[in-house]
Amino acid sequence: MRTPLAWLNTIQNKKRTATAVGGICFAVLLIFMQAGFLGAARLNASLAYRQLDFDMMIVSRGYLMLTRSESIDVYRVIQARNVPGVASVEGLLLQGGNWSNQISKSTESCFIFGLRPGGHYFVDHALNKSVTHLSERQSTLADSLSRPSYGPWMIGGTAVINRQKLAIRGDYALGMGLLADGSAMVSFDTYLRLYGIPALRRYQFGLVRLTPGANAIAVAAALRESLPKDVMVLTKPELIDREENYFVNVKPIGIMFKVGMLVAFIVGAVILYQILSSEIANRLKEFATLKAMGYTERYIYGVGIRQGLIFSIMGYVPSLILSFGLYRLLRGLSSFPVYMDLTRALFVLGLTLGMCAIAAVFALGKIKRADPADLF
């Protein structure tokens, strides 16, 4: 059996290995953290759209993002219903409002959704059922993922929104993350009262659902054709894509997360290289001895790279576990949707392995130049 040299090298000086692995672990953790921020910023931007059940959305021409959309004429929704292939179109109202914390007497930002009681809006059927309860005057559904600054509230209690008392008839889990402190859902009628709007003439969104089997591209084209140019028609993937890109590429906070991610990558790579090269430099004599003994260069490189990989896996595993904790901490403190997903875990793993292998190759470059005779 061949001697597992890379492994023996790793475990020979345990303390030293522990420091190196610790360093790698933190470099990887840094990458996880920034990647988590960026991923959460993306997810956060499209959170509401992922819960709404629609194939296409009618939005205003000047539409920027969920919380910055202008209104569309109610007739656009009615007009869209007549397009072949369209099963139903629901109007949706959305505007920023104030939720009063009744204990601390402070007002918190709150996005208020205005819905037609009985309308089919959400992917979640239980939630669609709750929406029917909104037909009662001055009633609301509260967001269970609202920030703690909303103060205590319960189903059956009262909420104060825009200084009006509303009966809380149920709840749902949405969470607005970076966009606002929380949200609430009310009926069209309650919405109009909350904002003092005399009559329902404008919606913010029109949710289009297609008949089964309809060709989405063809229907979208037909909708664009038949509706006036003051609105845009976006399919669900288009809308989610646009929303995430707007937040990450245009809003300052998204850009900051992006820069943070880049810097974390560079720093992580440099740290890994630093650790591995000093590790390999320490064994230069041994590698040179192997060379003098007649081992091929390929074998020596193999040992170095394998050691790099062992280090990176030993550093990756604890940092993966640590980042689960870090994400949980972040979610608890900020209601920011930072979740670990398989893609991110694999992506960071691939990156770590790649960086370690490259660092090992660079560090081993010295061996090529080193003459065994010079070393002693």
Partner: protein, 367 residues
């Protein structure tokens, strides 16, 4: 001893420099987030700011009736009391007519108590309904705007009659200043609904006494704060309550701990490699203090050598982020000093930890 292996030294310094960059970056994000959301208070020229008690941030929250502003005028020791109207609306980009949210302030032209000199300089132009002052540091999404640009704001046509400097924040892409009349026209708001009251105290009057008298006269739902107190509260609201503050705060902490660990890693290797030399020194009869001195001196040198490129790279990074976001990232001497202290602190801690090994070795064991 440091320059013994130049290649290695460069790597060590690079690693210290990078941990400095991480700290600068996280601190910059954290402060950029705080400063940009508390960008208004430094521009107030008043002694007290009156608001509704439920208004917990300058840019959102409850309004109050104009009566309060008049009530305050009758209180002894108050020199002047004026209303300030504020709110967000859509700004049409004059080039491509895309729309973005801006924050607008409507001031009393006679006695603004907000950017007084600036308003005084443009007073005549601002008297014209629809004329506004534009923040030249606004985000590029708002378009190229100069004095004379005509564009739509909310429901009215506006003309830019001058520029000022404030800077955007995470919520609003830019800021506009205008007369109270223009503001009310734009928002279709009643003059009776006021966002903030600005109060100036008579010279020589005791601020605390005046505040007490004011609170006695005003309804219990009134809140009086000085601009400094408002500033502290704005930062508190962002750091504690908004997820951005929390996220960047945690980033800052993780950045610091990573910096310490990296420095320790480097110094430990450094000391470990020179263990025979240290042991020799010990065997030669040098006291442990001498050896500690060498290692700590080495640690400090490394901190300094790593800090300078780290500072330069950090400054470059700030410029880059400012360019992309137009969020102002201030590199104040205080913050530079803070990071420097942290860098040398962590190098010293790391050096100290690494020293333990030196002291525990017996020279006889090494050879």
């Amino acid at each position: 001893m440091l320059i013994d292996k130049p290649g290695r030294l460069v790597l060590s310094i690079l690693a210290v420099a990078f941990s400095v960059v991480i700290m600068f970056m996280e601190l910059g994000f954290f402060n950029g987030c705080n400063n940009s959301s508390a960008n208004l208070p430094p521009h107030f020229d008043c002694d007290l700011i009156l608001s509704h008690i439920e208004k917990n941030h300058l840019k959102t929250g409850e309004e109050f009736p104009l009566d309060w502003v008049f009530l305050a005028r009758d209180v002894e020791g108050v020199a002047a009391s004026v209303a300030l109207y504020s709110g967000a609306d859509y700004w049409w980009n004059p080039q491509d007519s895309s729309r973005n949210r801006v924050f607008a302030l409507g001031v009393d032209l006679e006695d603004p108590m907000f950017e007084t000199d600036l308003i005084a300089a443009h007073r005549k132009a601002l008297l014209e309904p629809g004329s506004v002052l534009y923040d030249r540091l606004s985000r590029h999404e708002l378009g190229r705007v100069e004095t004379g640009t005509v564009s739509t704001l909310g429901r009215i046509q506006t003309k830019v009659v001058g520029l000022f400097s404030l800077g955007p924040n995470f919520t609003y892409e830019g800021h506009l200043l205008m007369s109270a009349d223009t503001f009310l026209l734009m928002q279709d708001q009643s003059r009776n609904v006021v966002d903030l009251g600005l109060i100036r105290v008579k010279p020589g009057a005791d601020l605390k006494e005046v505040r007490k008298r004011l609170l006695a006269k005003l309804p219990p739902i009134a809140l009086l704060l000085t601009p400094d107190e408002i500033n502290a509260r704005e930062i508190n609201v962002t750091t504690r309550r908004s997820p951005a503050g929390v996220v960047f705060g945690i980033g800052l902490l993780v950045g610091f701990s990573i910096g310490i660990i990296i420095c320790y890693q480097i110094l430990f290797n450094e000391v470990n490699d020179h263990l025979p030399q240290f042991a020799t020194l010990k065997a030669m009869g040098h006291p442990p203090r001498f050896i500690s001195g060498i290692v700590l001196y080495e640690a400090l040198l490394m901190a300094l050598a790593g800090f300078i490129p780290g500072l330069l790279a950090g400054a470059g990074l700030y410029i880059l982020i400012e360019h992309f976001t137009q969020i102002r990232m201030f590199l104040t001497p205080g913050r530079v000093l803070l990071i420097f202290c942290l860098t040398s602190g962590m190098c010293l801690i790391a050096g100290h930890l690494a020293l333990k090994k030196v002291h525990s070795t017996d020279p006889a064991d090494l050879f």
